[in-house]
Assembly symmetry: C2
């Protein structure tokens, strides 16, 4: 049996889809006889109005699109979890899309979502997104735009972020307070705002504590994987630059670096203290367990949805509305990799 739709009913009764829709949805401007015919036929065919019919009526799809750079990153899994929870409770469906850190792809995905008339798009930008016109289009279309985590500072919309500068600062400060004087920094790609901000936090701590900032100790990453962490640490060790700490903006890259340090007979934390970022699952079970920065992904996802709901409700009621930026405070999780004689 194929789906019964408004069009089926319209064809059967030789009337327009709009009239059928109006009859089904109880509008007044339909002839009473026609209305009766439509409702009887709908009943006999076991028809229930579908989402497309509801859209014709409400101009809302109750669908949102969520674009994230990576699907397997635990942080993004948590954000998606938070969004899905809230969407579910409010009767929204969530289309999930992955930009794979590509601006070109991200742009295509946004266009596809707009064709589907989603009510909102939540996005964490790709590393190389510089042109923002595709996101201006979202706002022009009437859909709600929410930026999270990897955002553009110059594009107006509600935003959900963590205080990345502070995160970089407290991570570095923690290493300094535990005796580090020469701290290597694994930073992300050059353009991404989060990697810029975490780097600035690192630099601020170095300077405030009167250590010497050395750009040779800042290592750029395109792919924050364990293998790249291993490779870049190996490369750095071969340069024979003195170092006693590592602040990596990724737990995964940090685990690769620790493997490399062990291989080269550096003891963690005795010779080199290490702190990662994101509090990935199982980082508490490594030897040494990994000190890291935690960010509340699930709560951030929930917050994205709440901001979306505020905006769409305000617009529907035509009441005044102001973009909001919610900033979450990162949390230092101290474990064995950064502290001498660490006791649980």
């Amino acid at each position: 049996m194929s789906k019964i739709t408004l069009t089926h009913l319209a064809k059967k009764l030789k009337i327009s889809v709009a009239t059928v829709s109006k009859a089904i949805n109880g509008y007044a401007d339909v002839n009473i006889e026609t209305k009766k015919k439509v409702l009887n036929l709908a009943k006999s065919l076991n028809f229930t109005p579908n989402a497309q019919a509801a859209f014709l009526r409400t101009k809302k799809t109750k669908v949102i699109g969520v674009i994230i750079p990576h699907i397997s990153h635990p942080f993004f899994s948590n954000i998606v979890k938070g969004i899905l929870n809230s969407a579910d409770k409010n009767g929204y469906l969530v289309i999930l899309l992955r930009s794979n850190e590509s601006y070109v792809h991200e742009k295509k995905l946004v266009e596809r979502l707009l064709k589907h008339n989603v009510d909102g798009i939540f996005i964490s930008l790709a590393h190389d997104t510089y042109d923002l016109s595709h996101l201006e289009e979202v706002k022009k279309s009437g859909a709600v735009l929410i930026q999270f985590d990897k955002i553009s500072k110059i594009l107006n919309s509600s935003k959900v972020v963590i205080d990345d500068r502070r995160a970089g600062y407290i991570a570095t400060e923690h290493l300094i307070k535990n005796g580090c004087k020469n701290i290597v920094h694994f930073r992300g790609p050059l353009l991404a705002q989060i990697s810029i901000d975490r780097f600035l936090g690192y630099k601020k701590a170095i300077e405030e504590y009167n250590l010497t900032f050395d750009k040779n100790k800042v290592i750029l990453f395109d792919h924050l994987t364990d293998q790249e962490g291993y490779r870049k640490m190996n490369e750095f060790i071969s340069k024979k630059i003195n170092f006693d700490g590592l602040f990596s903006i990724s737990d995964y890259a940090a685990t690769g670096a620790i493997e490399c340090l062990k291989k080269n007979n550096f003891h963690v934390p005795n010779d080199v203290k290490v702190i990662g970022f994101s509090n990935w699952i199982l980082t508490d079970k490594l030897t040494p367990s990994l000190t890291t920065i935690d960010h509340p992904g699930v709560l951030m996802g929930k917050t994205c949805f709440n901001l979306f709901l505020n905006e769409i409700t305000s617009k529907a009621k035509k009441v005044k509305f102001k973009y909001e930026k919610k900033t979450f405070t990162p949390k230092l999780i101290i474990r064995e990799s950064s502290v001498l004689n660490y006791q649980v």
Copy 2:
């Protein structure tokens, strides 16, 4: 600016939505003058047909729904990644939903997806799903149903699974070949087919190698977490039953068990050899690194999409179609936790 839709155009021109749709989509049965008017207005308003309009024409939404039990499980992340890749290449959008292992919730989600006229539903069943009428409804609606991983054997549809019985067998056999004679089994919930099959594989290996099957060594789990793994291992140790091996159907529960074993002065692998399941990220970096079973999540996701595409294409062409079941062979990943004097 709000979205321009077929309805806008219809209202402006005081004609039916169906006529506008026909004009836009180049159907013949529209008055030539009307057609010209519609196209001119569409052009002047910068209108592009949206997905809802396309649906009215094609009865296809090019949207699929994917229901998984958990969002943060790495295996499901991989399946979703595989599905998203293929969907993206073929111009489909993916609505992601989480049943949270609840039949009641799963049923509600299926109904919601059907209201949105998705072209297909891919589902991994909740632990407690016994009634299957909501999935029969999917098939009746004309949407394609694909079951993956946690499937029902009695419900007809195309399916993508791993050979769980074989997985349980090779995991247990590996422990036996490494000297284990008393193997504890962490199994999942009673009803889930994957946990039944892995258990049967375990039992088969025990019997084929002439060891004694002991139901006291089979431990049921509702939640396969590290904490539960720790707690249940602790409980088992307190019973003073002799054991020298553990086959856990979850890596995460296995890591909790290993923590507990260490705490109780059992050496892994010298005293107890351990094998997990799923090859979670970072399990290769634990001390000892965790022996496990790998299943190709991304490939399985891709396969789900291909089966969907075959079915929908066959149905559109009205050619004969037969459900397919694709079974992937699990792979043993040998690491330190199960082998004496393991060398990389």
